[in-house]
Symmetry: C2
Subunit: 263 residues, 2 copies
Amino acid sequence: MNIQEKIADIQTSTNTMLCIGLDTDIAKLPEGIERTVQGVVEFNRLIIEATKDVCCSYKINFAFYEQYGTSGFDAIEKTLSYIPQQHVTIGDAKRGDIGNTSAAYANAILNEMGFDSITVSPYMGADSVEPFLTSDNKLVFLLALTSNSGSKDFQYLEIDGKPLYQHVITTSQHWKRNSELGYVIGATHPQQLKTIRDLIPTSPLLIPGVGTQGGNPQEIKEANGNGVAFVNVSRAIIYASANKDFADIARTTAEMYCKQLSL
Amino acid sequence: MNIQEKIADIQTSTNTMLCIGLDTDIAKLPEGIERTVQGVVEFNRLIIEATKDVCCSYKINFAFYEQYGTSGFDAIEKTLSYIPQQHVTIGDAKRGDIGNTSAAYANAILNEMGFDSITVSPYMGADSVEPFLTSDNKLVFLLALTSNSGSKDFQYLEIDGKPLYQHVITTSQHWKRNSELGYVIGATHPQQLKTIRDLIPTSPLLIPGVGTQGGNPQEIKEANGNGVAFVNVSRAIIYASANKDFADIARTTAEMYCKQLSL
């Protein structure tokens, strides 16, 4: 089954674009969970168990795990094993390096760990991204217009009347195997999202920034139109409660976003 | 001792800008070294032992190690333990993420692992880089003009008459703690290096791309002038021989680059 079929299946059966971000921070683990890397894994397991029928995807932000070195990698692999096969898994690793370095890393994340997709930085250009485009079972989300405040530093710079993030999109659409490319577009830029959808009506988008960062689900849905999208909510769901009821409250909160982000 | 003093000390005592890149690939390990992650560590140990008095720095490209998951991280830590304290260590991780994610990761690489410096991607802007600027004992090398062919895709795009990589440099020079910022400038762009040195005469530069990628040491030295620089050679030194004499041949090759890259 290629990745487009997998996305269609899970989004149809859950009727939502909601992706839950497992940006799990030891310091924010709720009551009743041990504040260790093992605690992170147990927390992720309980969050996945409580929310799996109200989201279509889980995103794992590598930076939260890599800080623990070897045990962090182990925690990523264990977390992946709790995510149902039907769900789309996103390795939010923001990588980008050249040649065989990228190739080896792509193989590690997409094949050995088995993520369905990965996020990659565009700054180093084609030969830093193409090694990740290896299979029609996988997707690469290229950072285009990110949700953070620093996105204004370079991504909006105008070249020939168009901002850099649009050049990233249009240039990369000419790369080999571009059908396996998607883009990261922050929910904090709904007007730009509409323009982007005119450029690439069907490319899958990963849209972070709803919830704590302030992106509005209704605005996003309208701007996105009918394109395939994963709208990521992390902290607003996983840290909805710091008490023993955290899994129940995460579930209730995820249900709300699930409905707001229906197809 | 702050990082500027450390750099001055080692570059004075070795009289070279040569940095050796430990881009160690299992498939390219020489005769007599086991083709395992343990073999990678043993190879690195022998290369460091053979070359430590003819270089000022070692750069570890994370992508070569991360592909092995937990054992790769272990290999980085073991390799670091063989590098003499006086040498400047560069964690070539090409990271860039926002807020507390970056902060945690910066702490892991710069403090827990103990690298002197790290490479970071600029695409996400100030709030993705500033968390790495935490101490005057450390340096952050921002990717500006990379050595690969894909550098032409976005880094040369002109904004107000100047290429993107120059905007990356001039904008980041206004960020907090900018005295801890250096830049990655590929040796494959010697003319641009000269222009960059007019903009930032004293910022430390990491200059990869000499050796297999074709950068010319003499051209680089002339274009760089008197600025602090680490000129990285990886494959041309570490894979100089595939036979049992690999450490001796790496030493002889490093000696040649050491002299070509004298201060």
